[in-house]
């Protein structure tokens, strides 16, 4: 059976794919249509409950919650894609290099990773925010930079385990160089770990952006973001508890979708796991 057929029969992959497709569709839709302009203030209609006019109600300034959620999806997608891309591009290469070369190269890469890990995304965002001011770009750079050492360490640890296996020794005995061994034997054997890691990092990037926005260090007004909506919702928790529920649900569903898709991919791409079923 070919890959698309198997993928369509995998329940969690399909469920995750639907949620992720919905997230992408919302983000794209926001460029051409929203029920109301997301930043439009309408104080007479503040704190409205969900209705036909305002599907998810309005906030303390009368802004339409559904419109803000739809536009807020953009920030989450942008942060997730770019931050994970930065992490994979830098981290996997460094991790594979460390495992293949060992010795001082591994030591140098790992010290670099330690050095990067010493600065969690929030610390980097705090430092960058203190100087350049908080914003979406600051958040993306901070989360992306933090992803590099994360991917490097996971890649190196998993690749080291593969390098100690007999089939790698056999490949080396056949005269394959380190680069060829890495690309043909090590990388395919750690791909499932990296896929799981990439989905988790994407999810964490969305959560990190929400945390930074919640603290005022992420996307700035008037650009809506789910984290800032939660922060505003928390202050109105007793008057309008749903205000803190919708953005939380949006985050949960997005992250859930990504993780389900990642899990599905792990099953579909791991031939050993497929055979054991």
């Amino acid at each position: 059976m070919n890959f698309p057929s198997r993928a369509l029969k995998h329940k969690s992959f399909v469920a995750g794919g639907v949620l992720v497709a919905l997230l992408l569709a919302l983000a794209l839709l926001s460029f051409v249509w929203t029920p109301y302009p997301a930043a439009e203030i309408d104080v007479p209609n503040k704190l409205q409950p969900p209705s036909a006019a305002h599907w998810l109600g309005t906030d303390s300034l009368g802004r339409d919650i559904a419109s803000q959620l739809i536009v807020g999806a953009r920030a989450s997608i942008a942060v997730g894609l770019i931050a994970v891309g930065i992490g994979i591009a830098g981290g996997v290469a460094l991790g594979l290099l460390a495992a293949a070369r060992r010795g001082w190269v591994e030591e140098a890469v790992m010290r670099l990773a330690d050095f990067g890990l010493a600065f969690p995304a929030l610390l980097t965002a705090i430092m960058l925010g203190a100087i350049y001011g908080p914003g979406l770009v600051t958040a993306i750079v901070a989360i992306g930079l933090f992803n590099i050492p994360e991917f490097a360490r996971i890649t190196r640890a998993s690749a080291n385990t593969v390098w100690s296996r007999e089939f790698v020794l056999a490949a080396r005995a056949c005269g394959k160089g380190r680069l060829r061994t890495t690309l043909e034997h090590v990388l395919p054997n750690i791909a499932s770990v990296l896929i799981v890691q990439a989905t988790i990092r994407f999810a964490i990037a969305i959560l990190a952006e929400a945390s930074l926005s919640y603290l005022g260090l992420g996307a700035q007004p008037p650009l809506p973001s789910w984290g800032r909506m939660l922060s505003e919702g928390q202050s109105m928790m007793y008057q309008a508890p749903l205000l803190a529920v919708w953005p939380g649900l949006a985050i949960v569903l997005s992250v859930l979708g990504l993780n389900l898709m990642g899990d599905g991919l792990r099953d579909l791409l791991d031939p050993k796991l497929a055979r054991s079923r």
Partner: protein
């Protein structure tokens, strides 16, 4: 030590040298030139950068971190006051994380593709997807407002003469620690399950079972130890996440810890305090990662072998 030295140089360079006038950043755009000049002199910014860096390093080594601009108090004193909240919070959250994750991860792997596995994986999917500050808010609503079992915010203190005590202090930390641990345990449980499943397919596991060892003995005695290398890596990484998490969760629960202090220092543009706190957190993370590296070799002696 090298990592710490480079980290200290970076922190000093980013927050102490760039982008030009630190005093102007601290006082804001509307500050008068006289006020900026006075603060520059007070902070010693009129001296050469290398001299200031050497002084700062000497201060770090002797815990003489200078004076906070906003609090008008010694920075070392401010940090010491906050450590008694943040360290127990991080330890409690990490302990909850490890216990929950190892139990759930090993259980799920041992029941691969059965109801128990699916239930653990579904719960972990939900846990990972929850923002810790959102679960914190929901926990406070449920267990502090609806069911008044725990305080909804603030810290009672560890001493009875301050109106707190050991039990009261712990009660203040339970909800924030659970909010932090839910996410971290969910992530670690997935890695544990994944690593255990990989090891379960190894030949030596079949050999151990063929020798007559029970499934449980093989799982806890052979499989878990071999699966611990990637799991430990993730645990090391999670410490950094926990530190980041405390900044957010201390703000949700109004806990007077280091995380809240960092955020307040940013709000106050108190750069010397930010500099000291960022360095302290970075040093803590470097130390944890060093310990994890040492533990690799203890757990898997094959990794001691250098060169191939």
């Amino acid at each position: 030590m090298l990592t710490l030295a480079v980290a200290s140089a970076l922190v000093f360079a980013v927050l102490g040298l760039l982008p030009g006038n630190v005093a102007q950043v601290m006082l804001g755009e509307s500050a008068t030139p006289e006020a900026v000049a006075a603060l520059e002199h007070q902070l010693g910014l009129d001296r050469p950068a290398l001299v200031r860096y050497a002084d700062w390093l000497r201060g770090l080594a002797t815990f003489d971190l200078g004076t906070s601009h906003a609090y008008d108090a010694p920075i070392a004193e401010l940090i010491a006051e906050r450590l008694v909240v943040t360290v127990p919070l991080a330890l409690l959250a990490m302990a909850l994380t490890v216990v929950l994750a190892l139990a759930a991860g090993v259980y799920a792997a041992s029941r691969h593709n059965r109801a128990g596995d699916l239930a653990v994986m579904a719960a972990s999917q939900l846990g990972i997807a929850l923002p810790s500050f959102w679960s914190g808010i929901l926990l406070a609503m449920l267990f502090a407002v609806t069911l008044p079992w725990f305080p909804s915010g603030g810290f009672a203190g560890w001493h009875e003469d301050e109106g707190g005590g050991l039990w009261e202090g712990l009660r203040s930390l339970v909800l924030p620690a659970v909010a932090l641990a839910v996410v971290q345990a969910a992530i670690l449980a997935r890695f544990t399950r994944s690593a255990v499943l990989d090891v379960l397919r190894e030949d030596f596991v079949r050999t151990a079972r063929a020798k007559g060892l029970t499934r449980r003995a093989v799982l806890w005695g052979h499989v878990l130890r071999n699966a611990m290398v990637p799991v430990l890596t993730v645990m090391g990484l999670q410490f950094a996440n926990l530190i980041t998490g405390t900044v957010v969760i201390e703000n949700v629960f109004s806990l007077p810890g280091l995380g809240r202090l960092v955020f307040q220092a940013i709000g106050n543009r108190d750069l010397p305090l930010v500099q000291a706190l960022v360095m302290l957190i970075a040093a803590a993370v470097v130390t944890i990662n060093f310990v994890v590296d040492v533990l690799y070799a203890v757990i898997d002696p094959r990794l001691k072998l250098a060169g191939r």
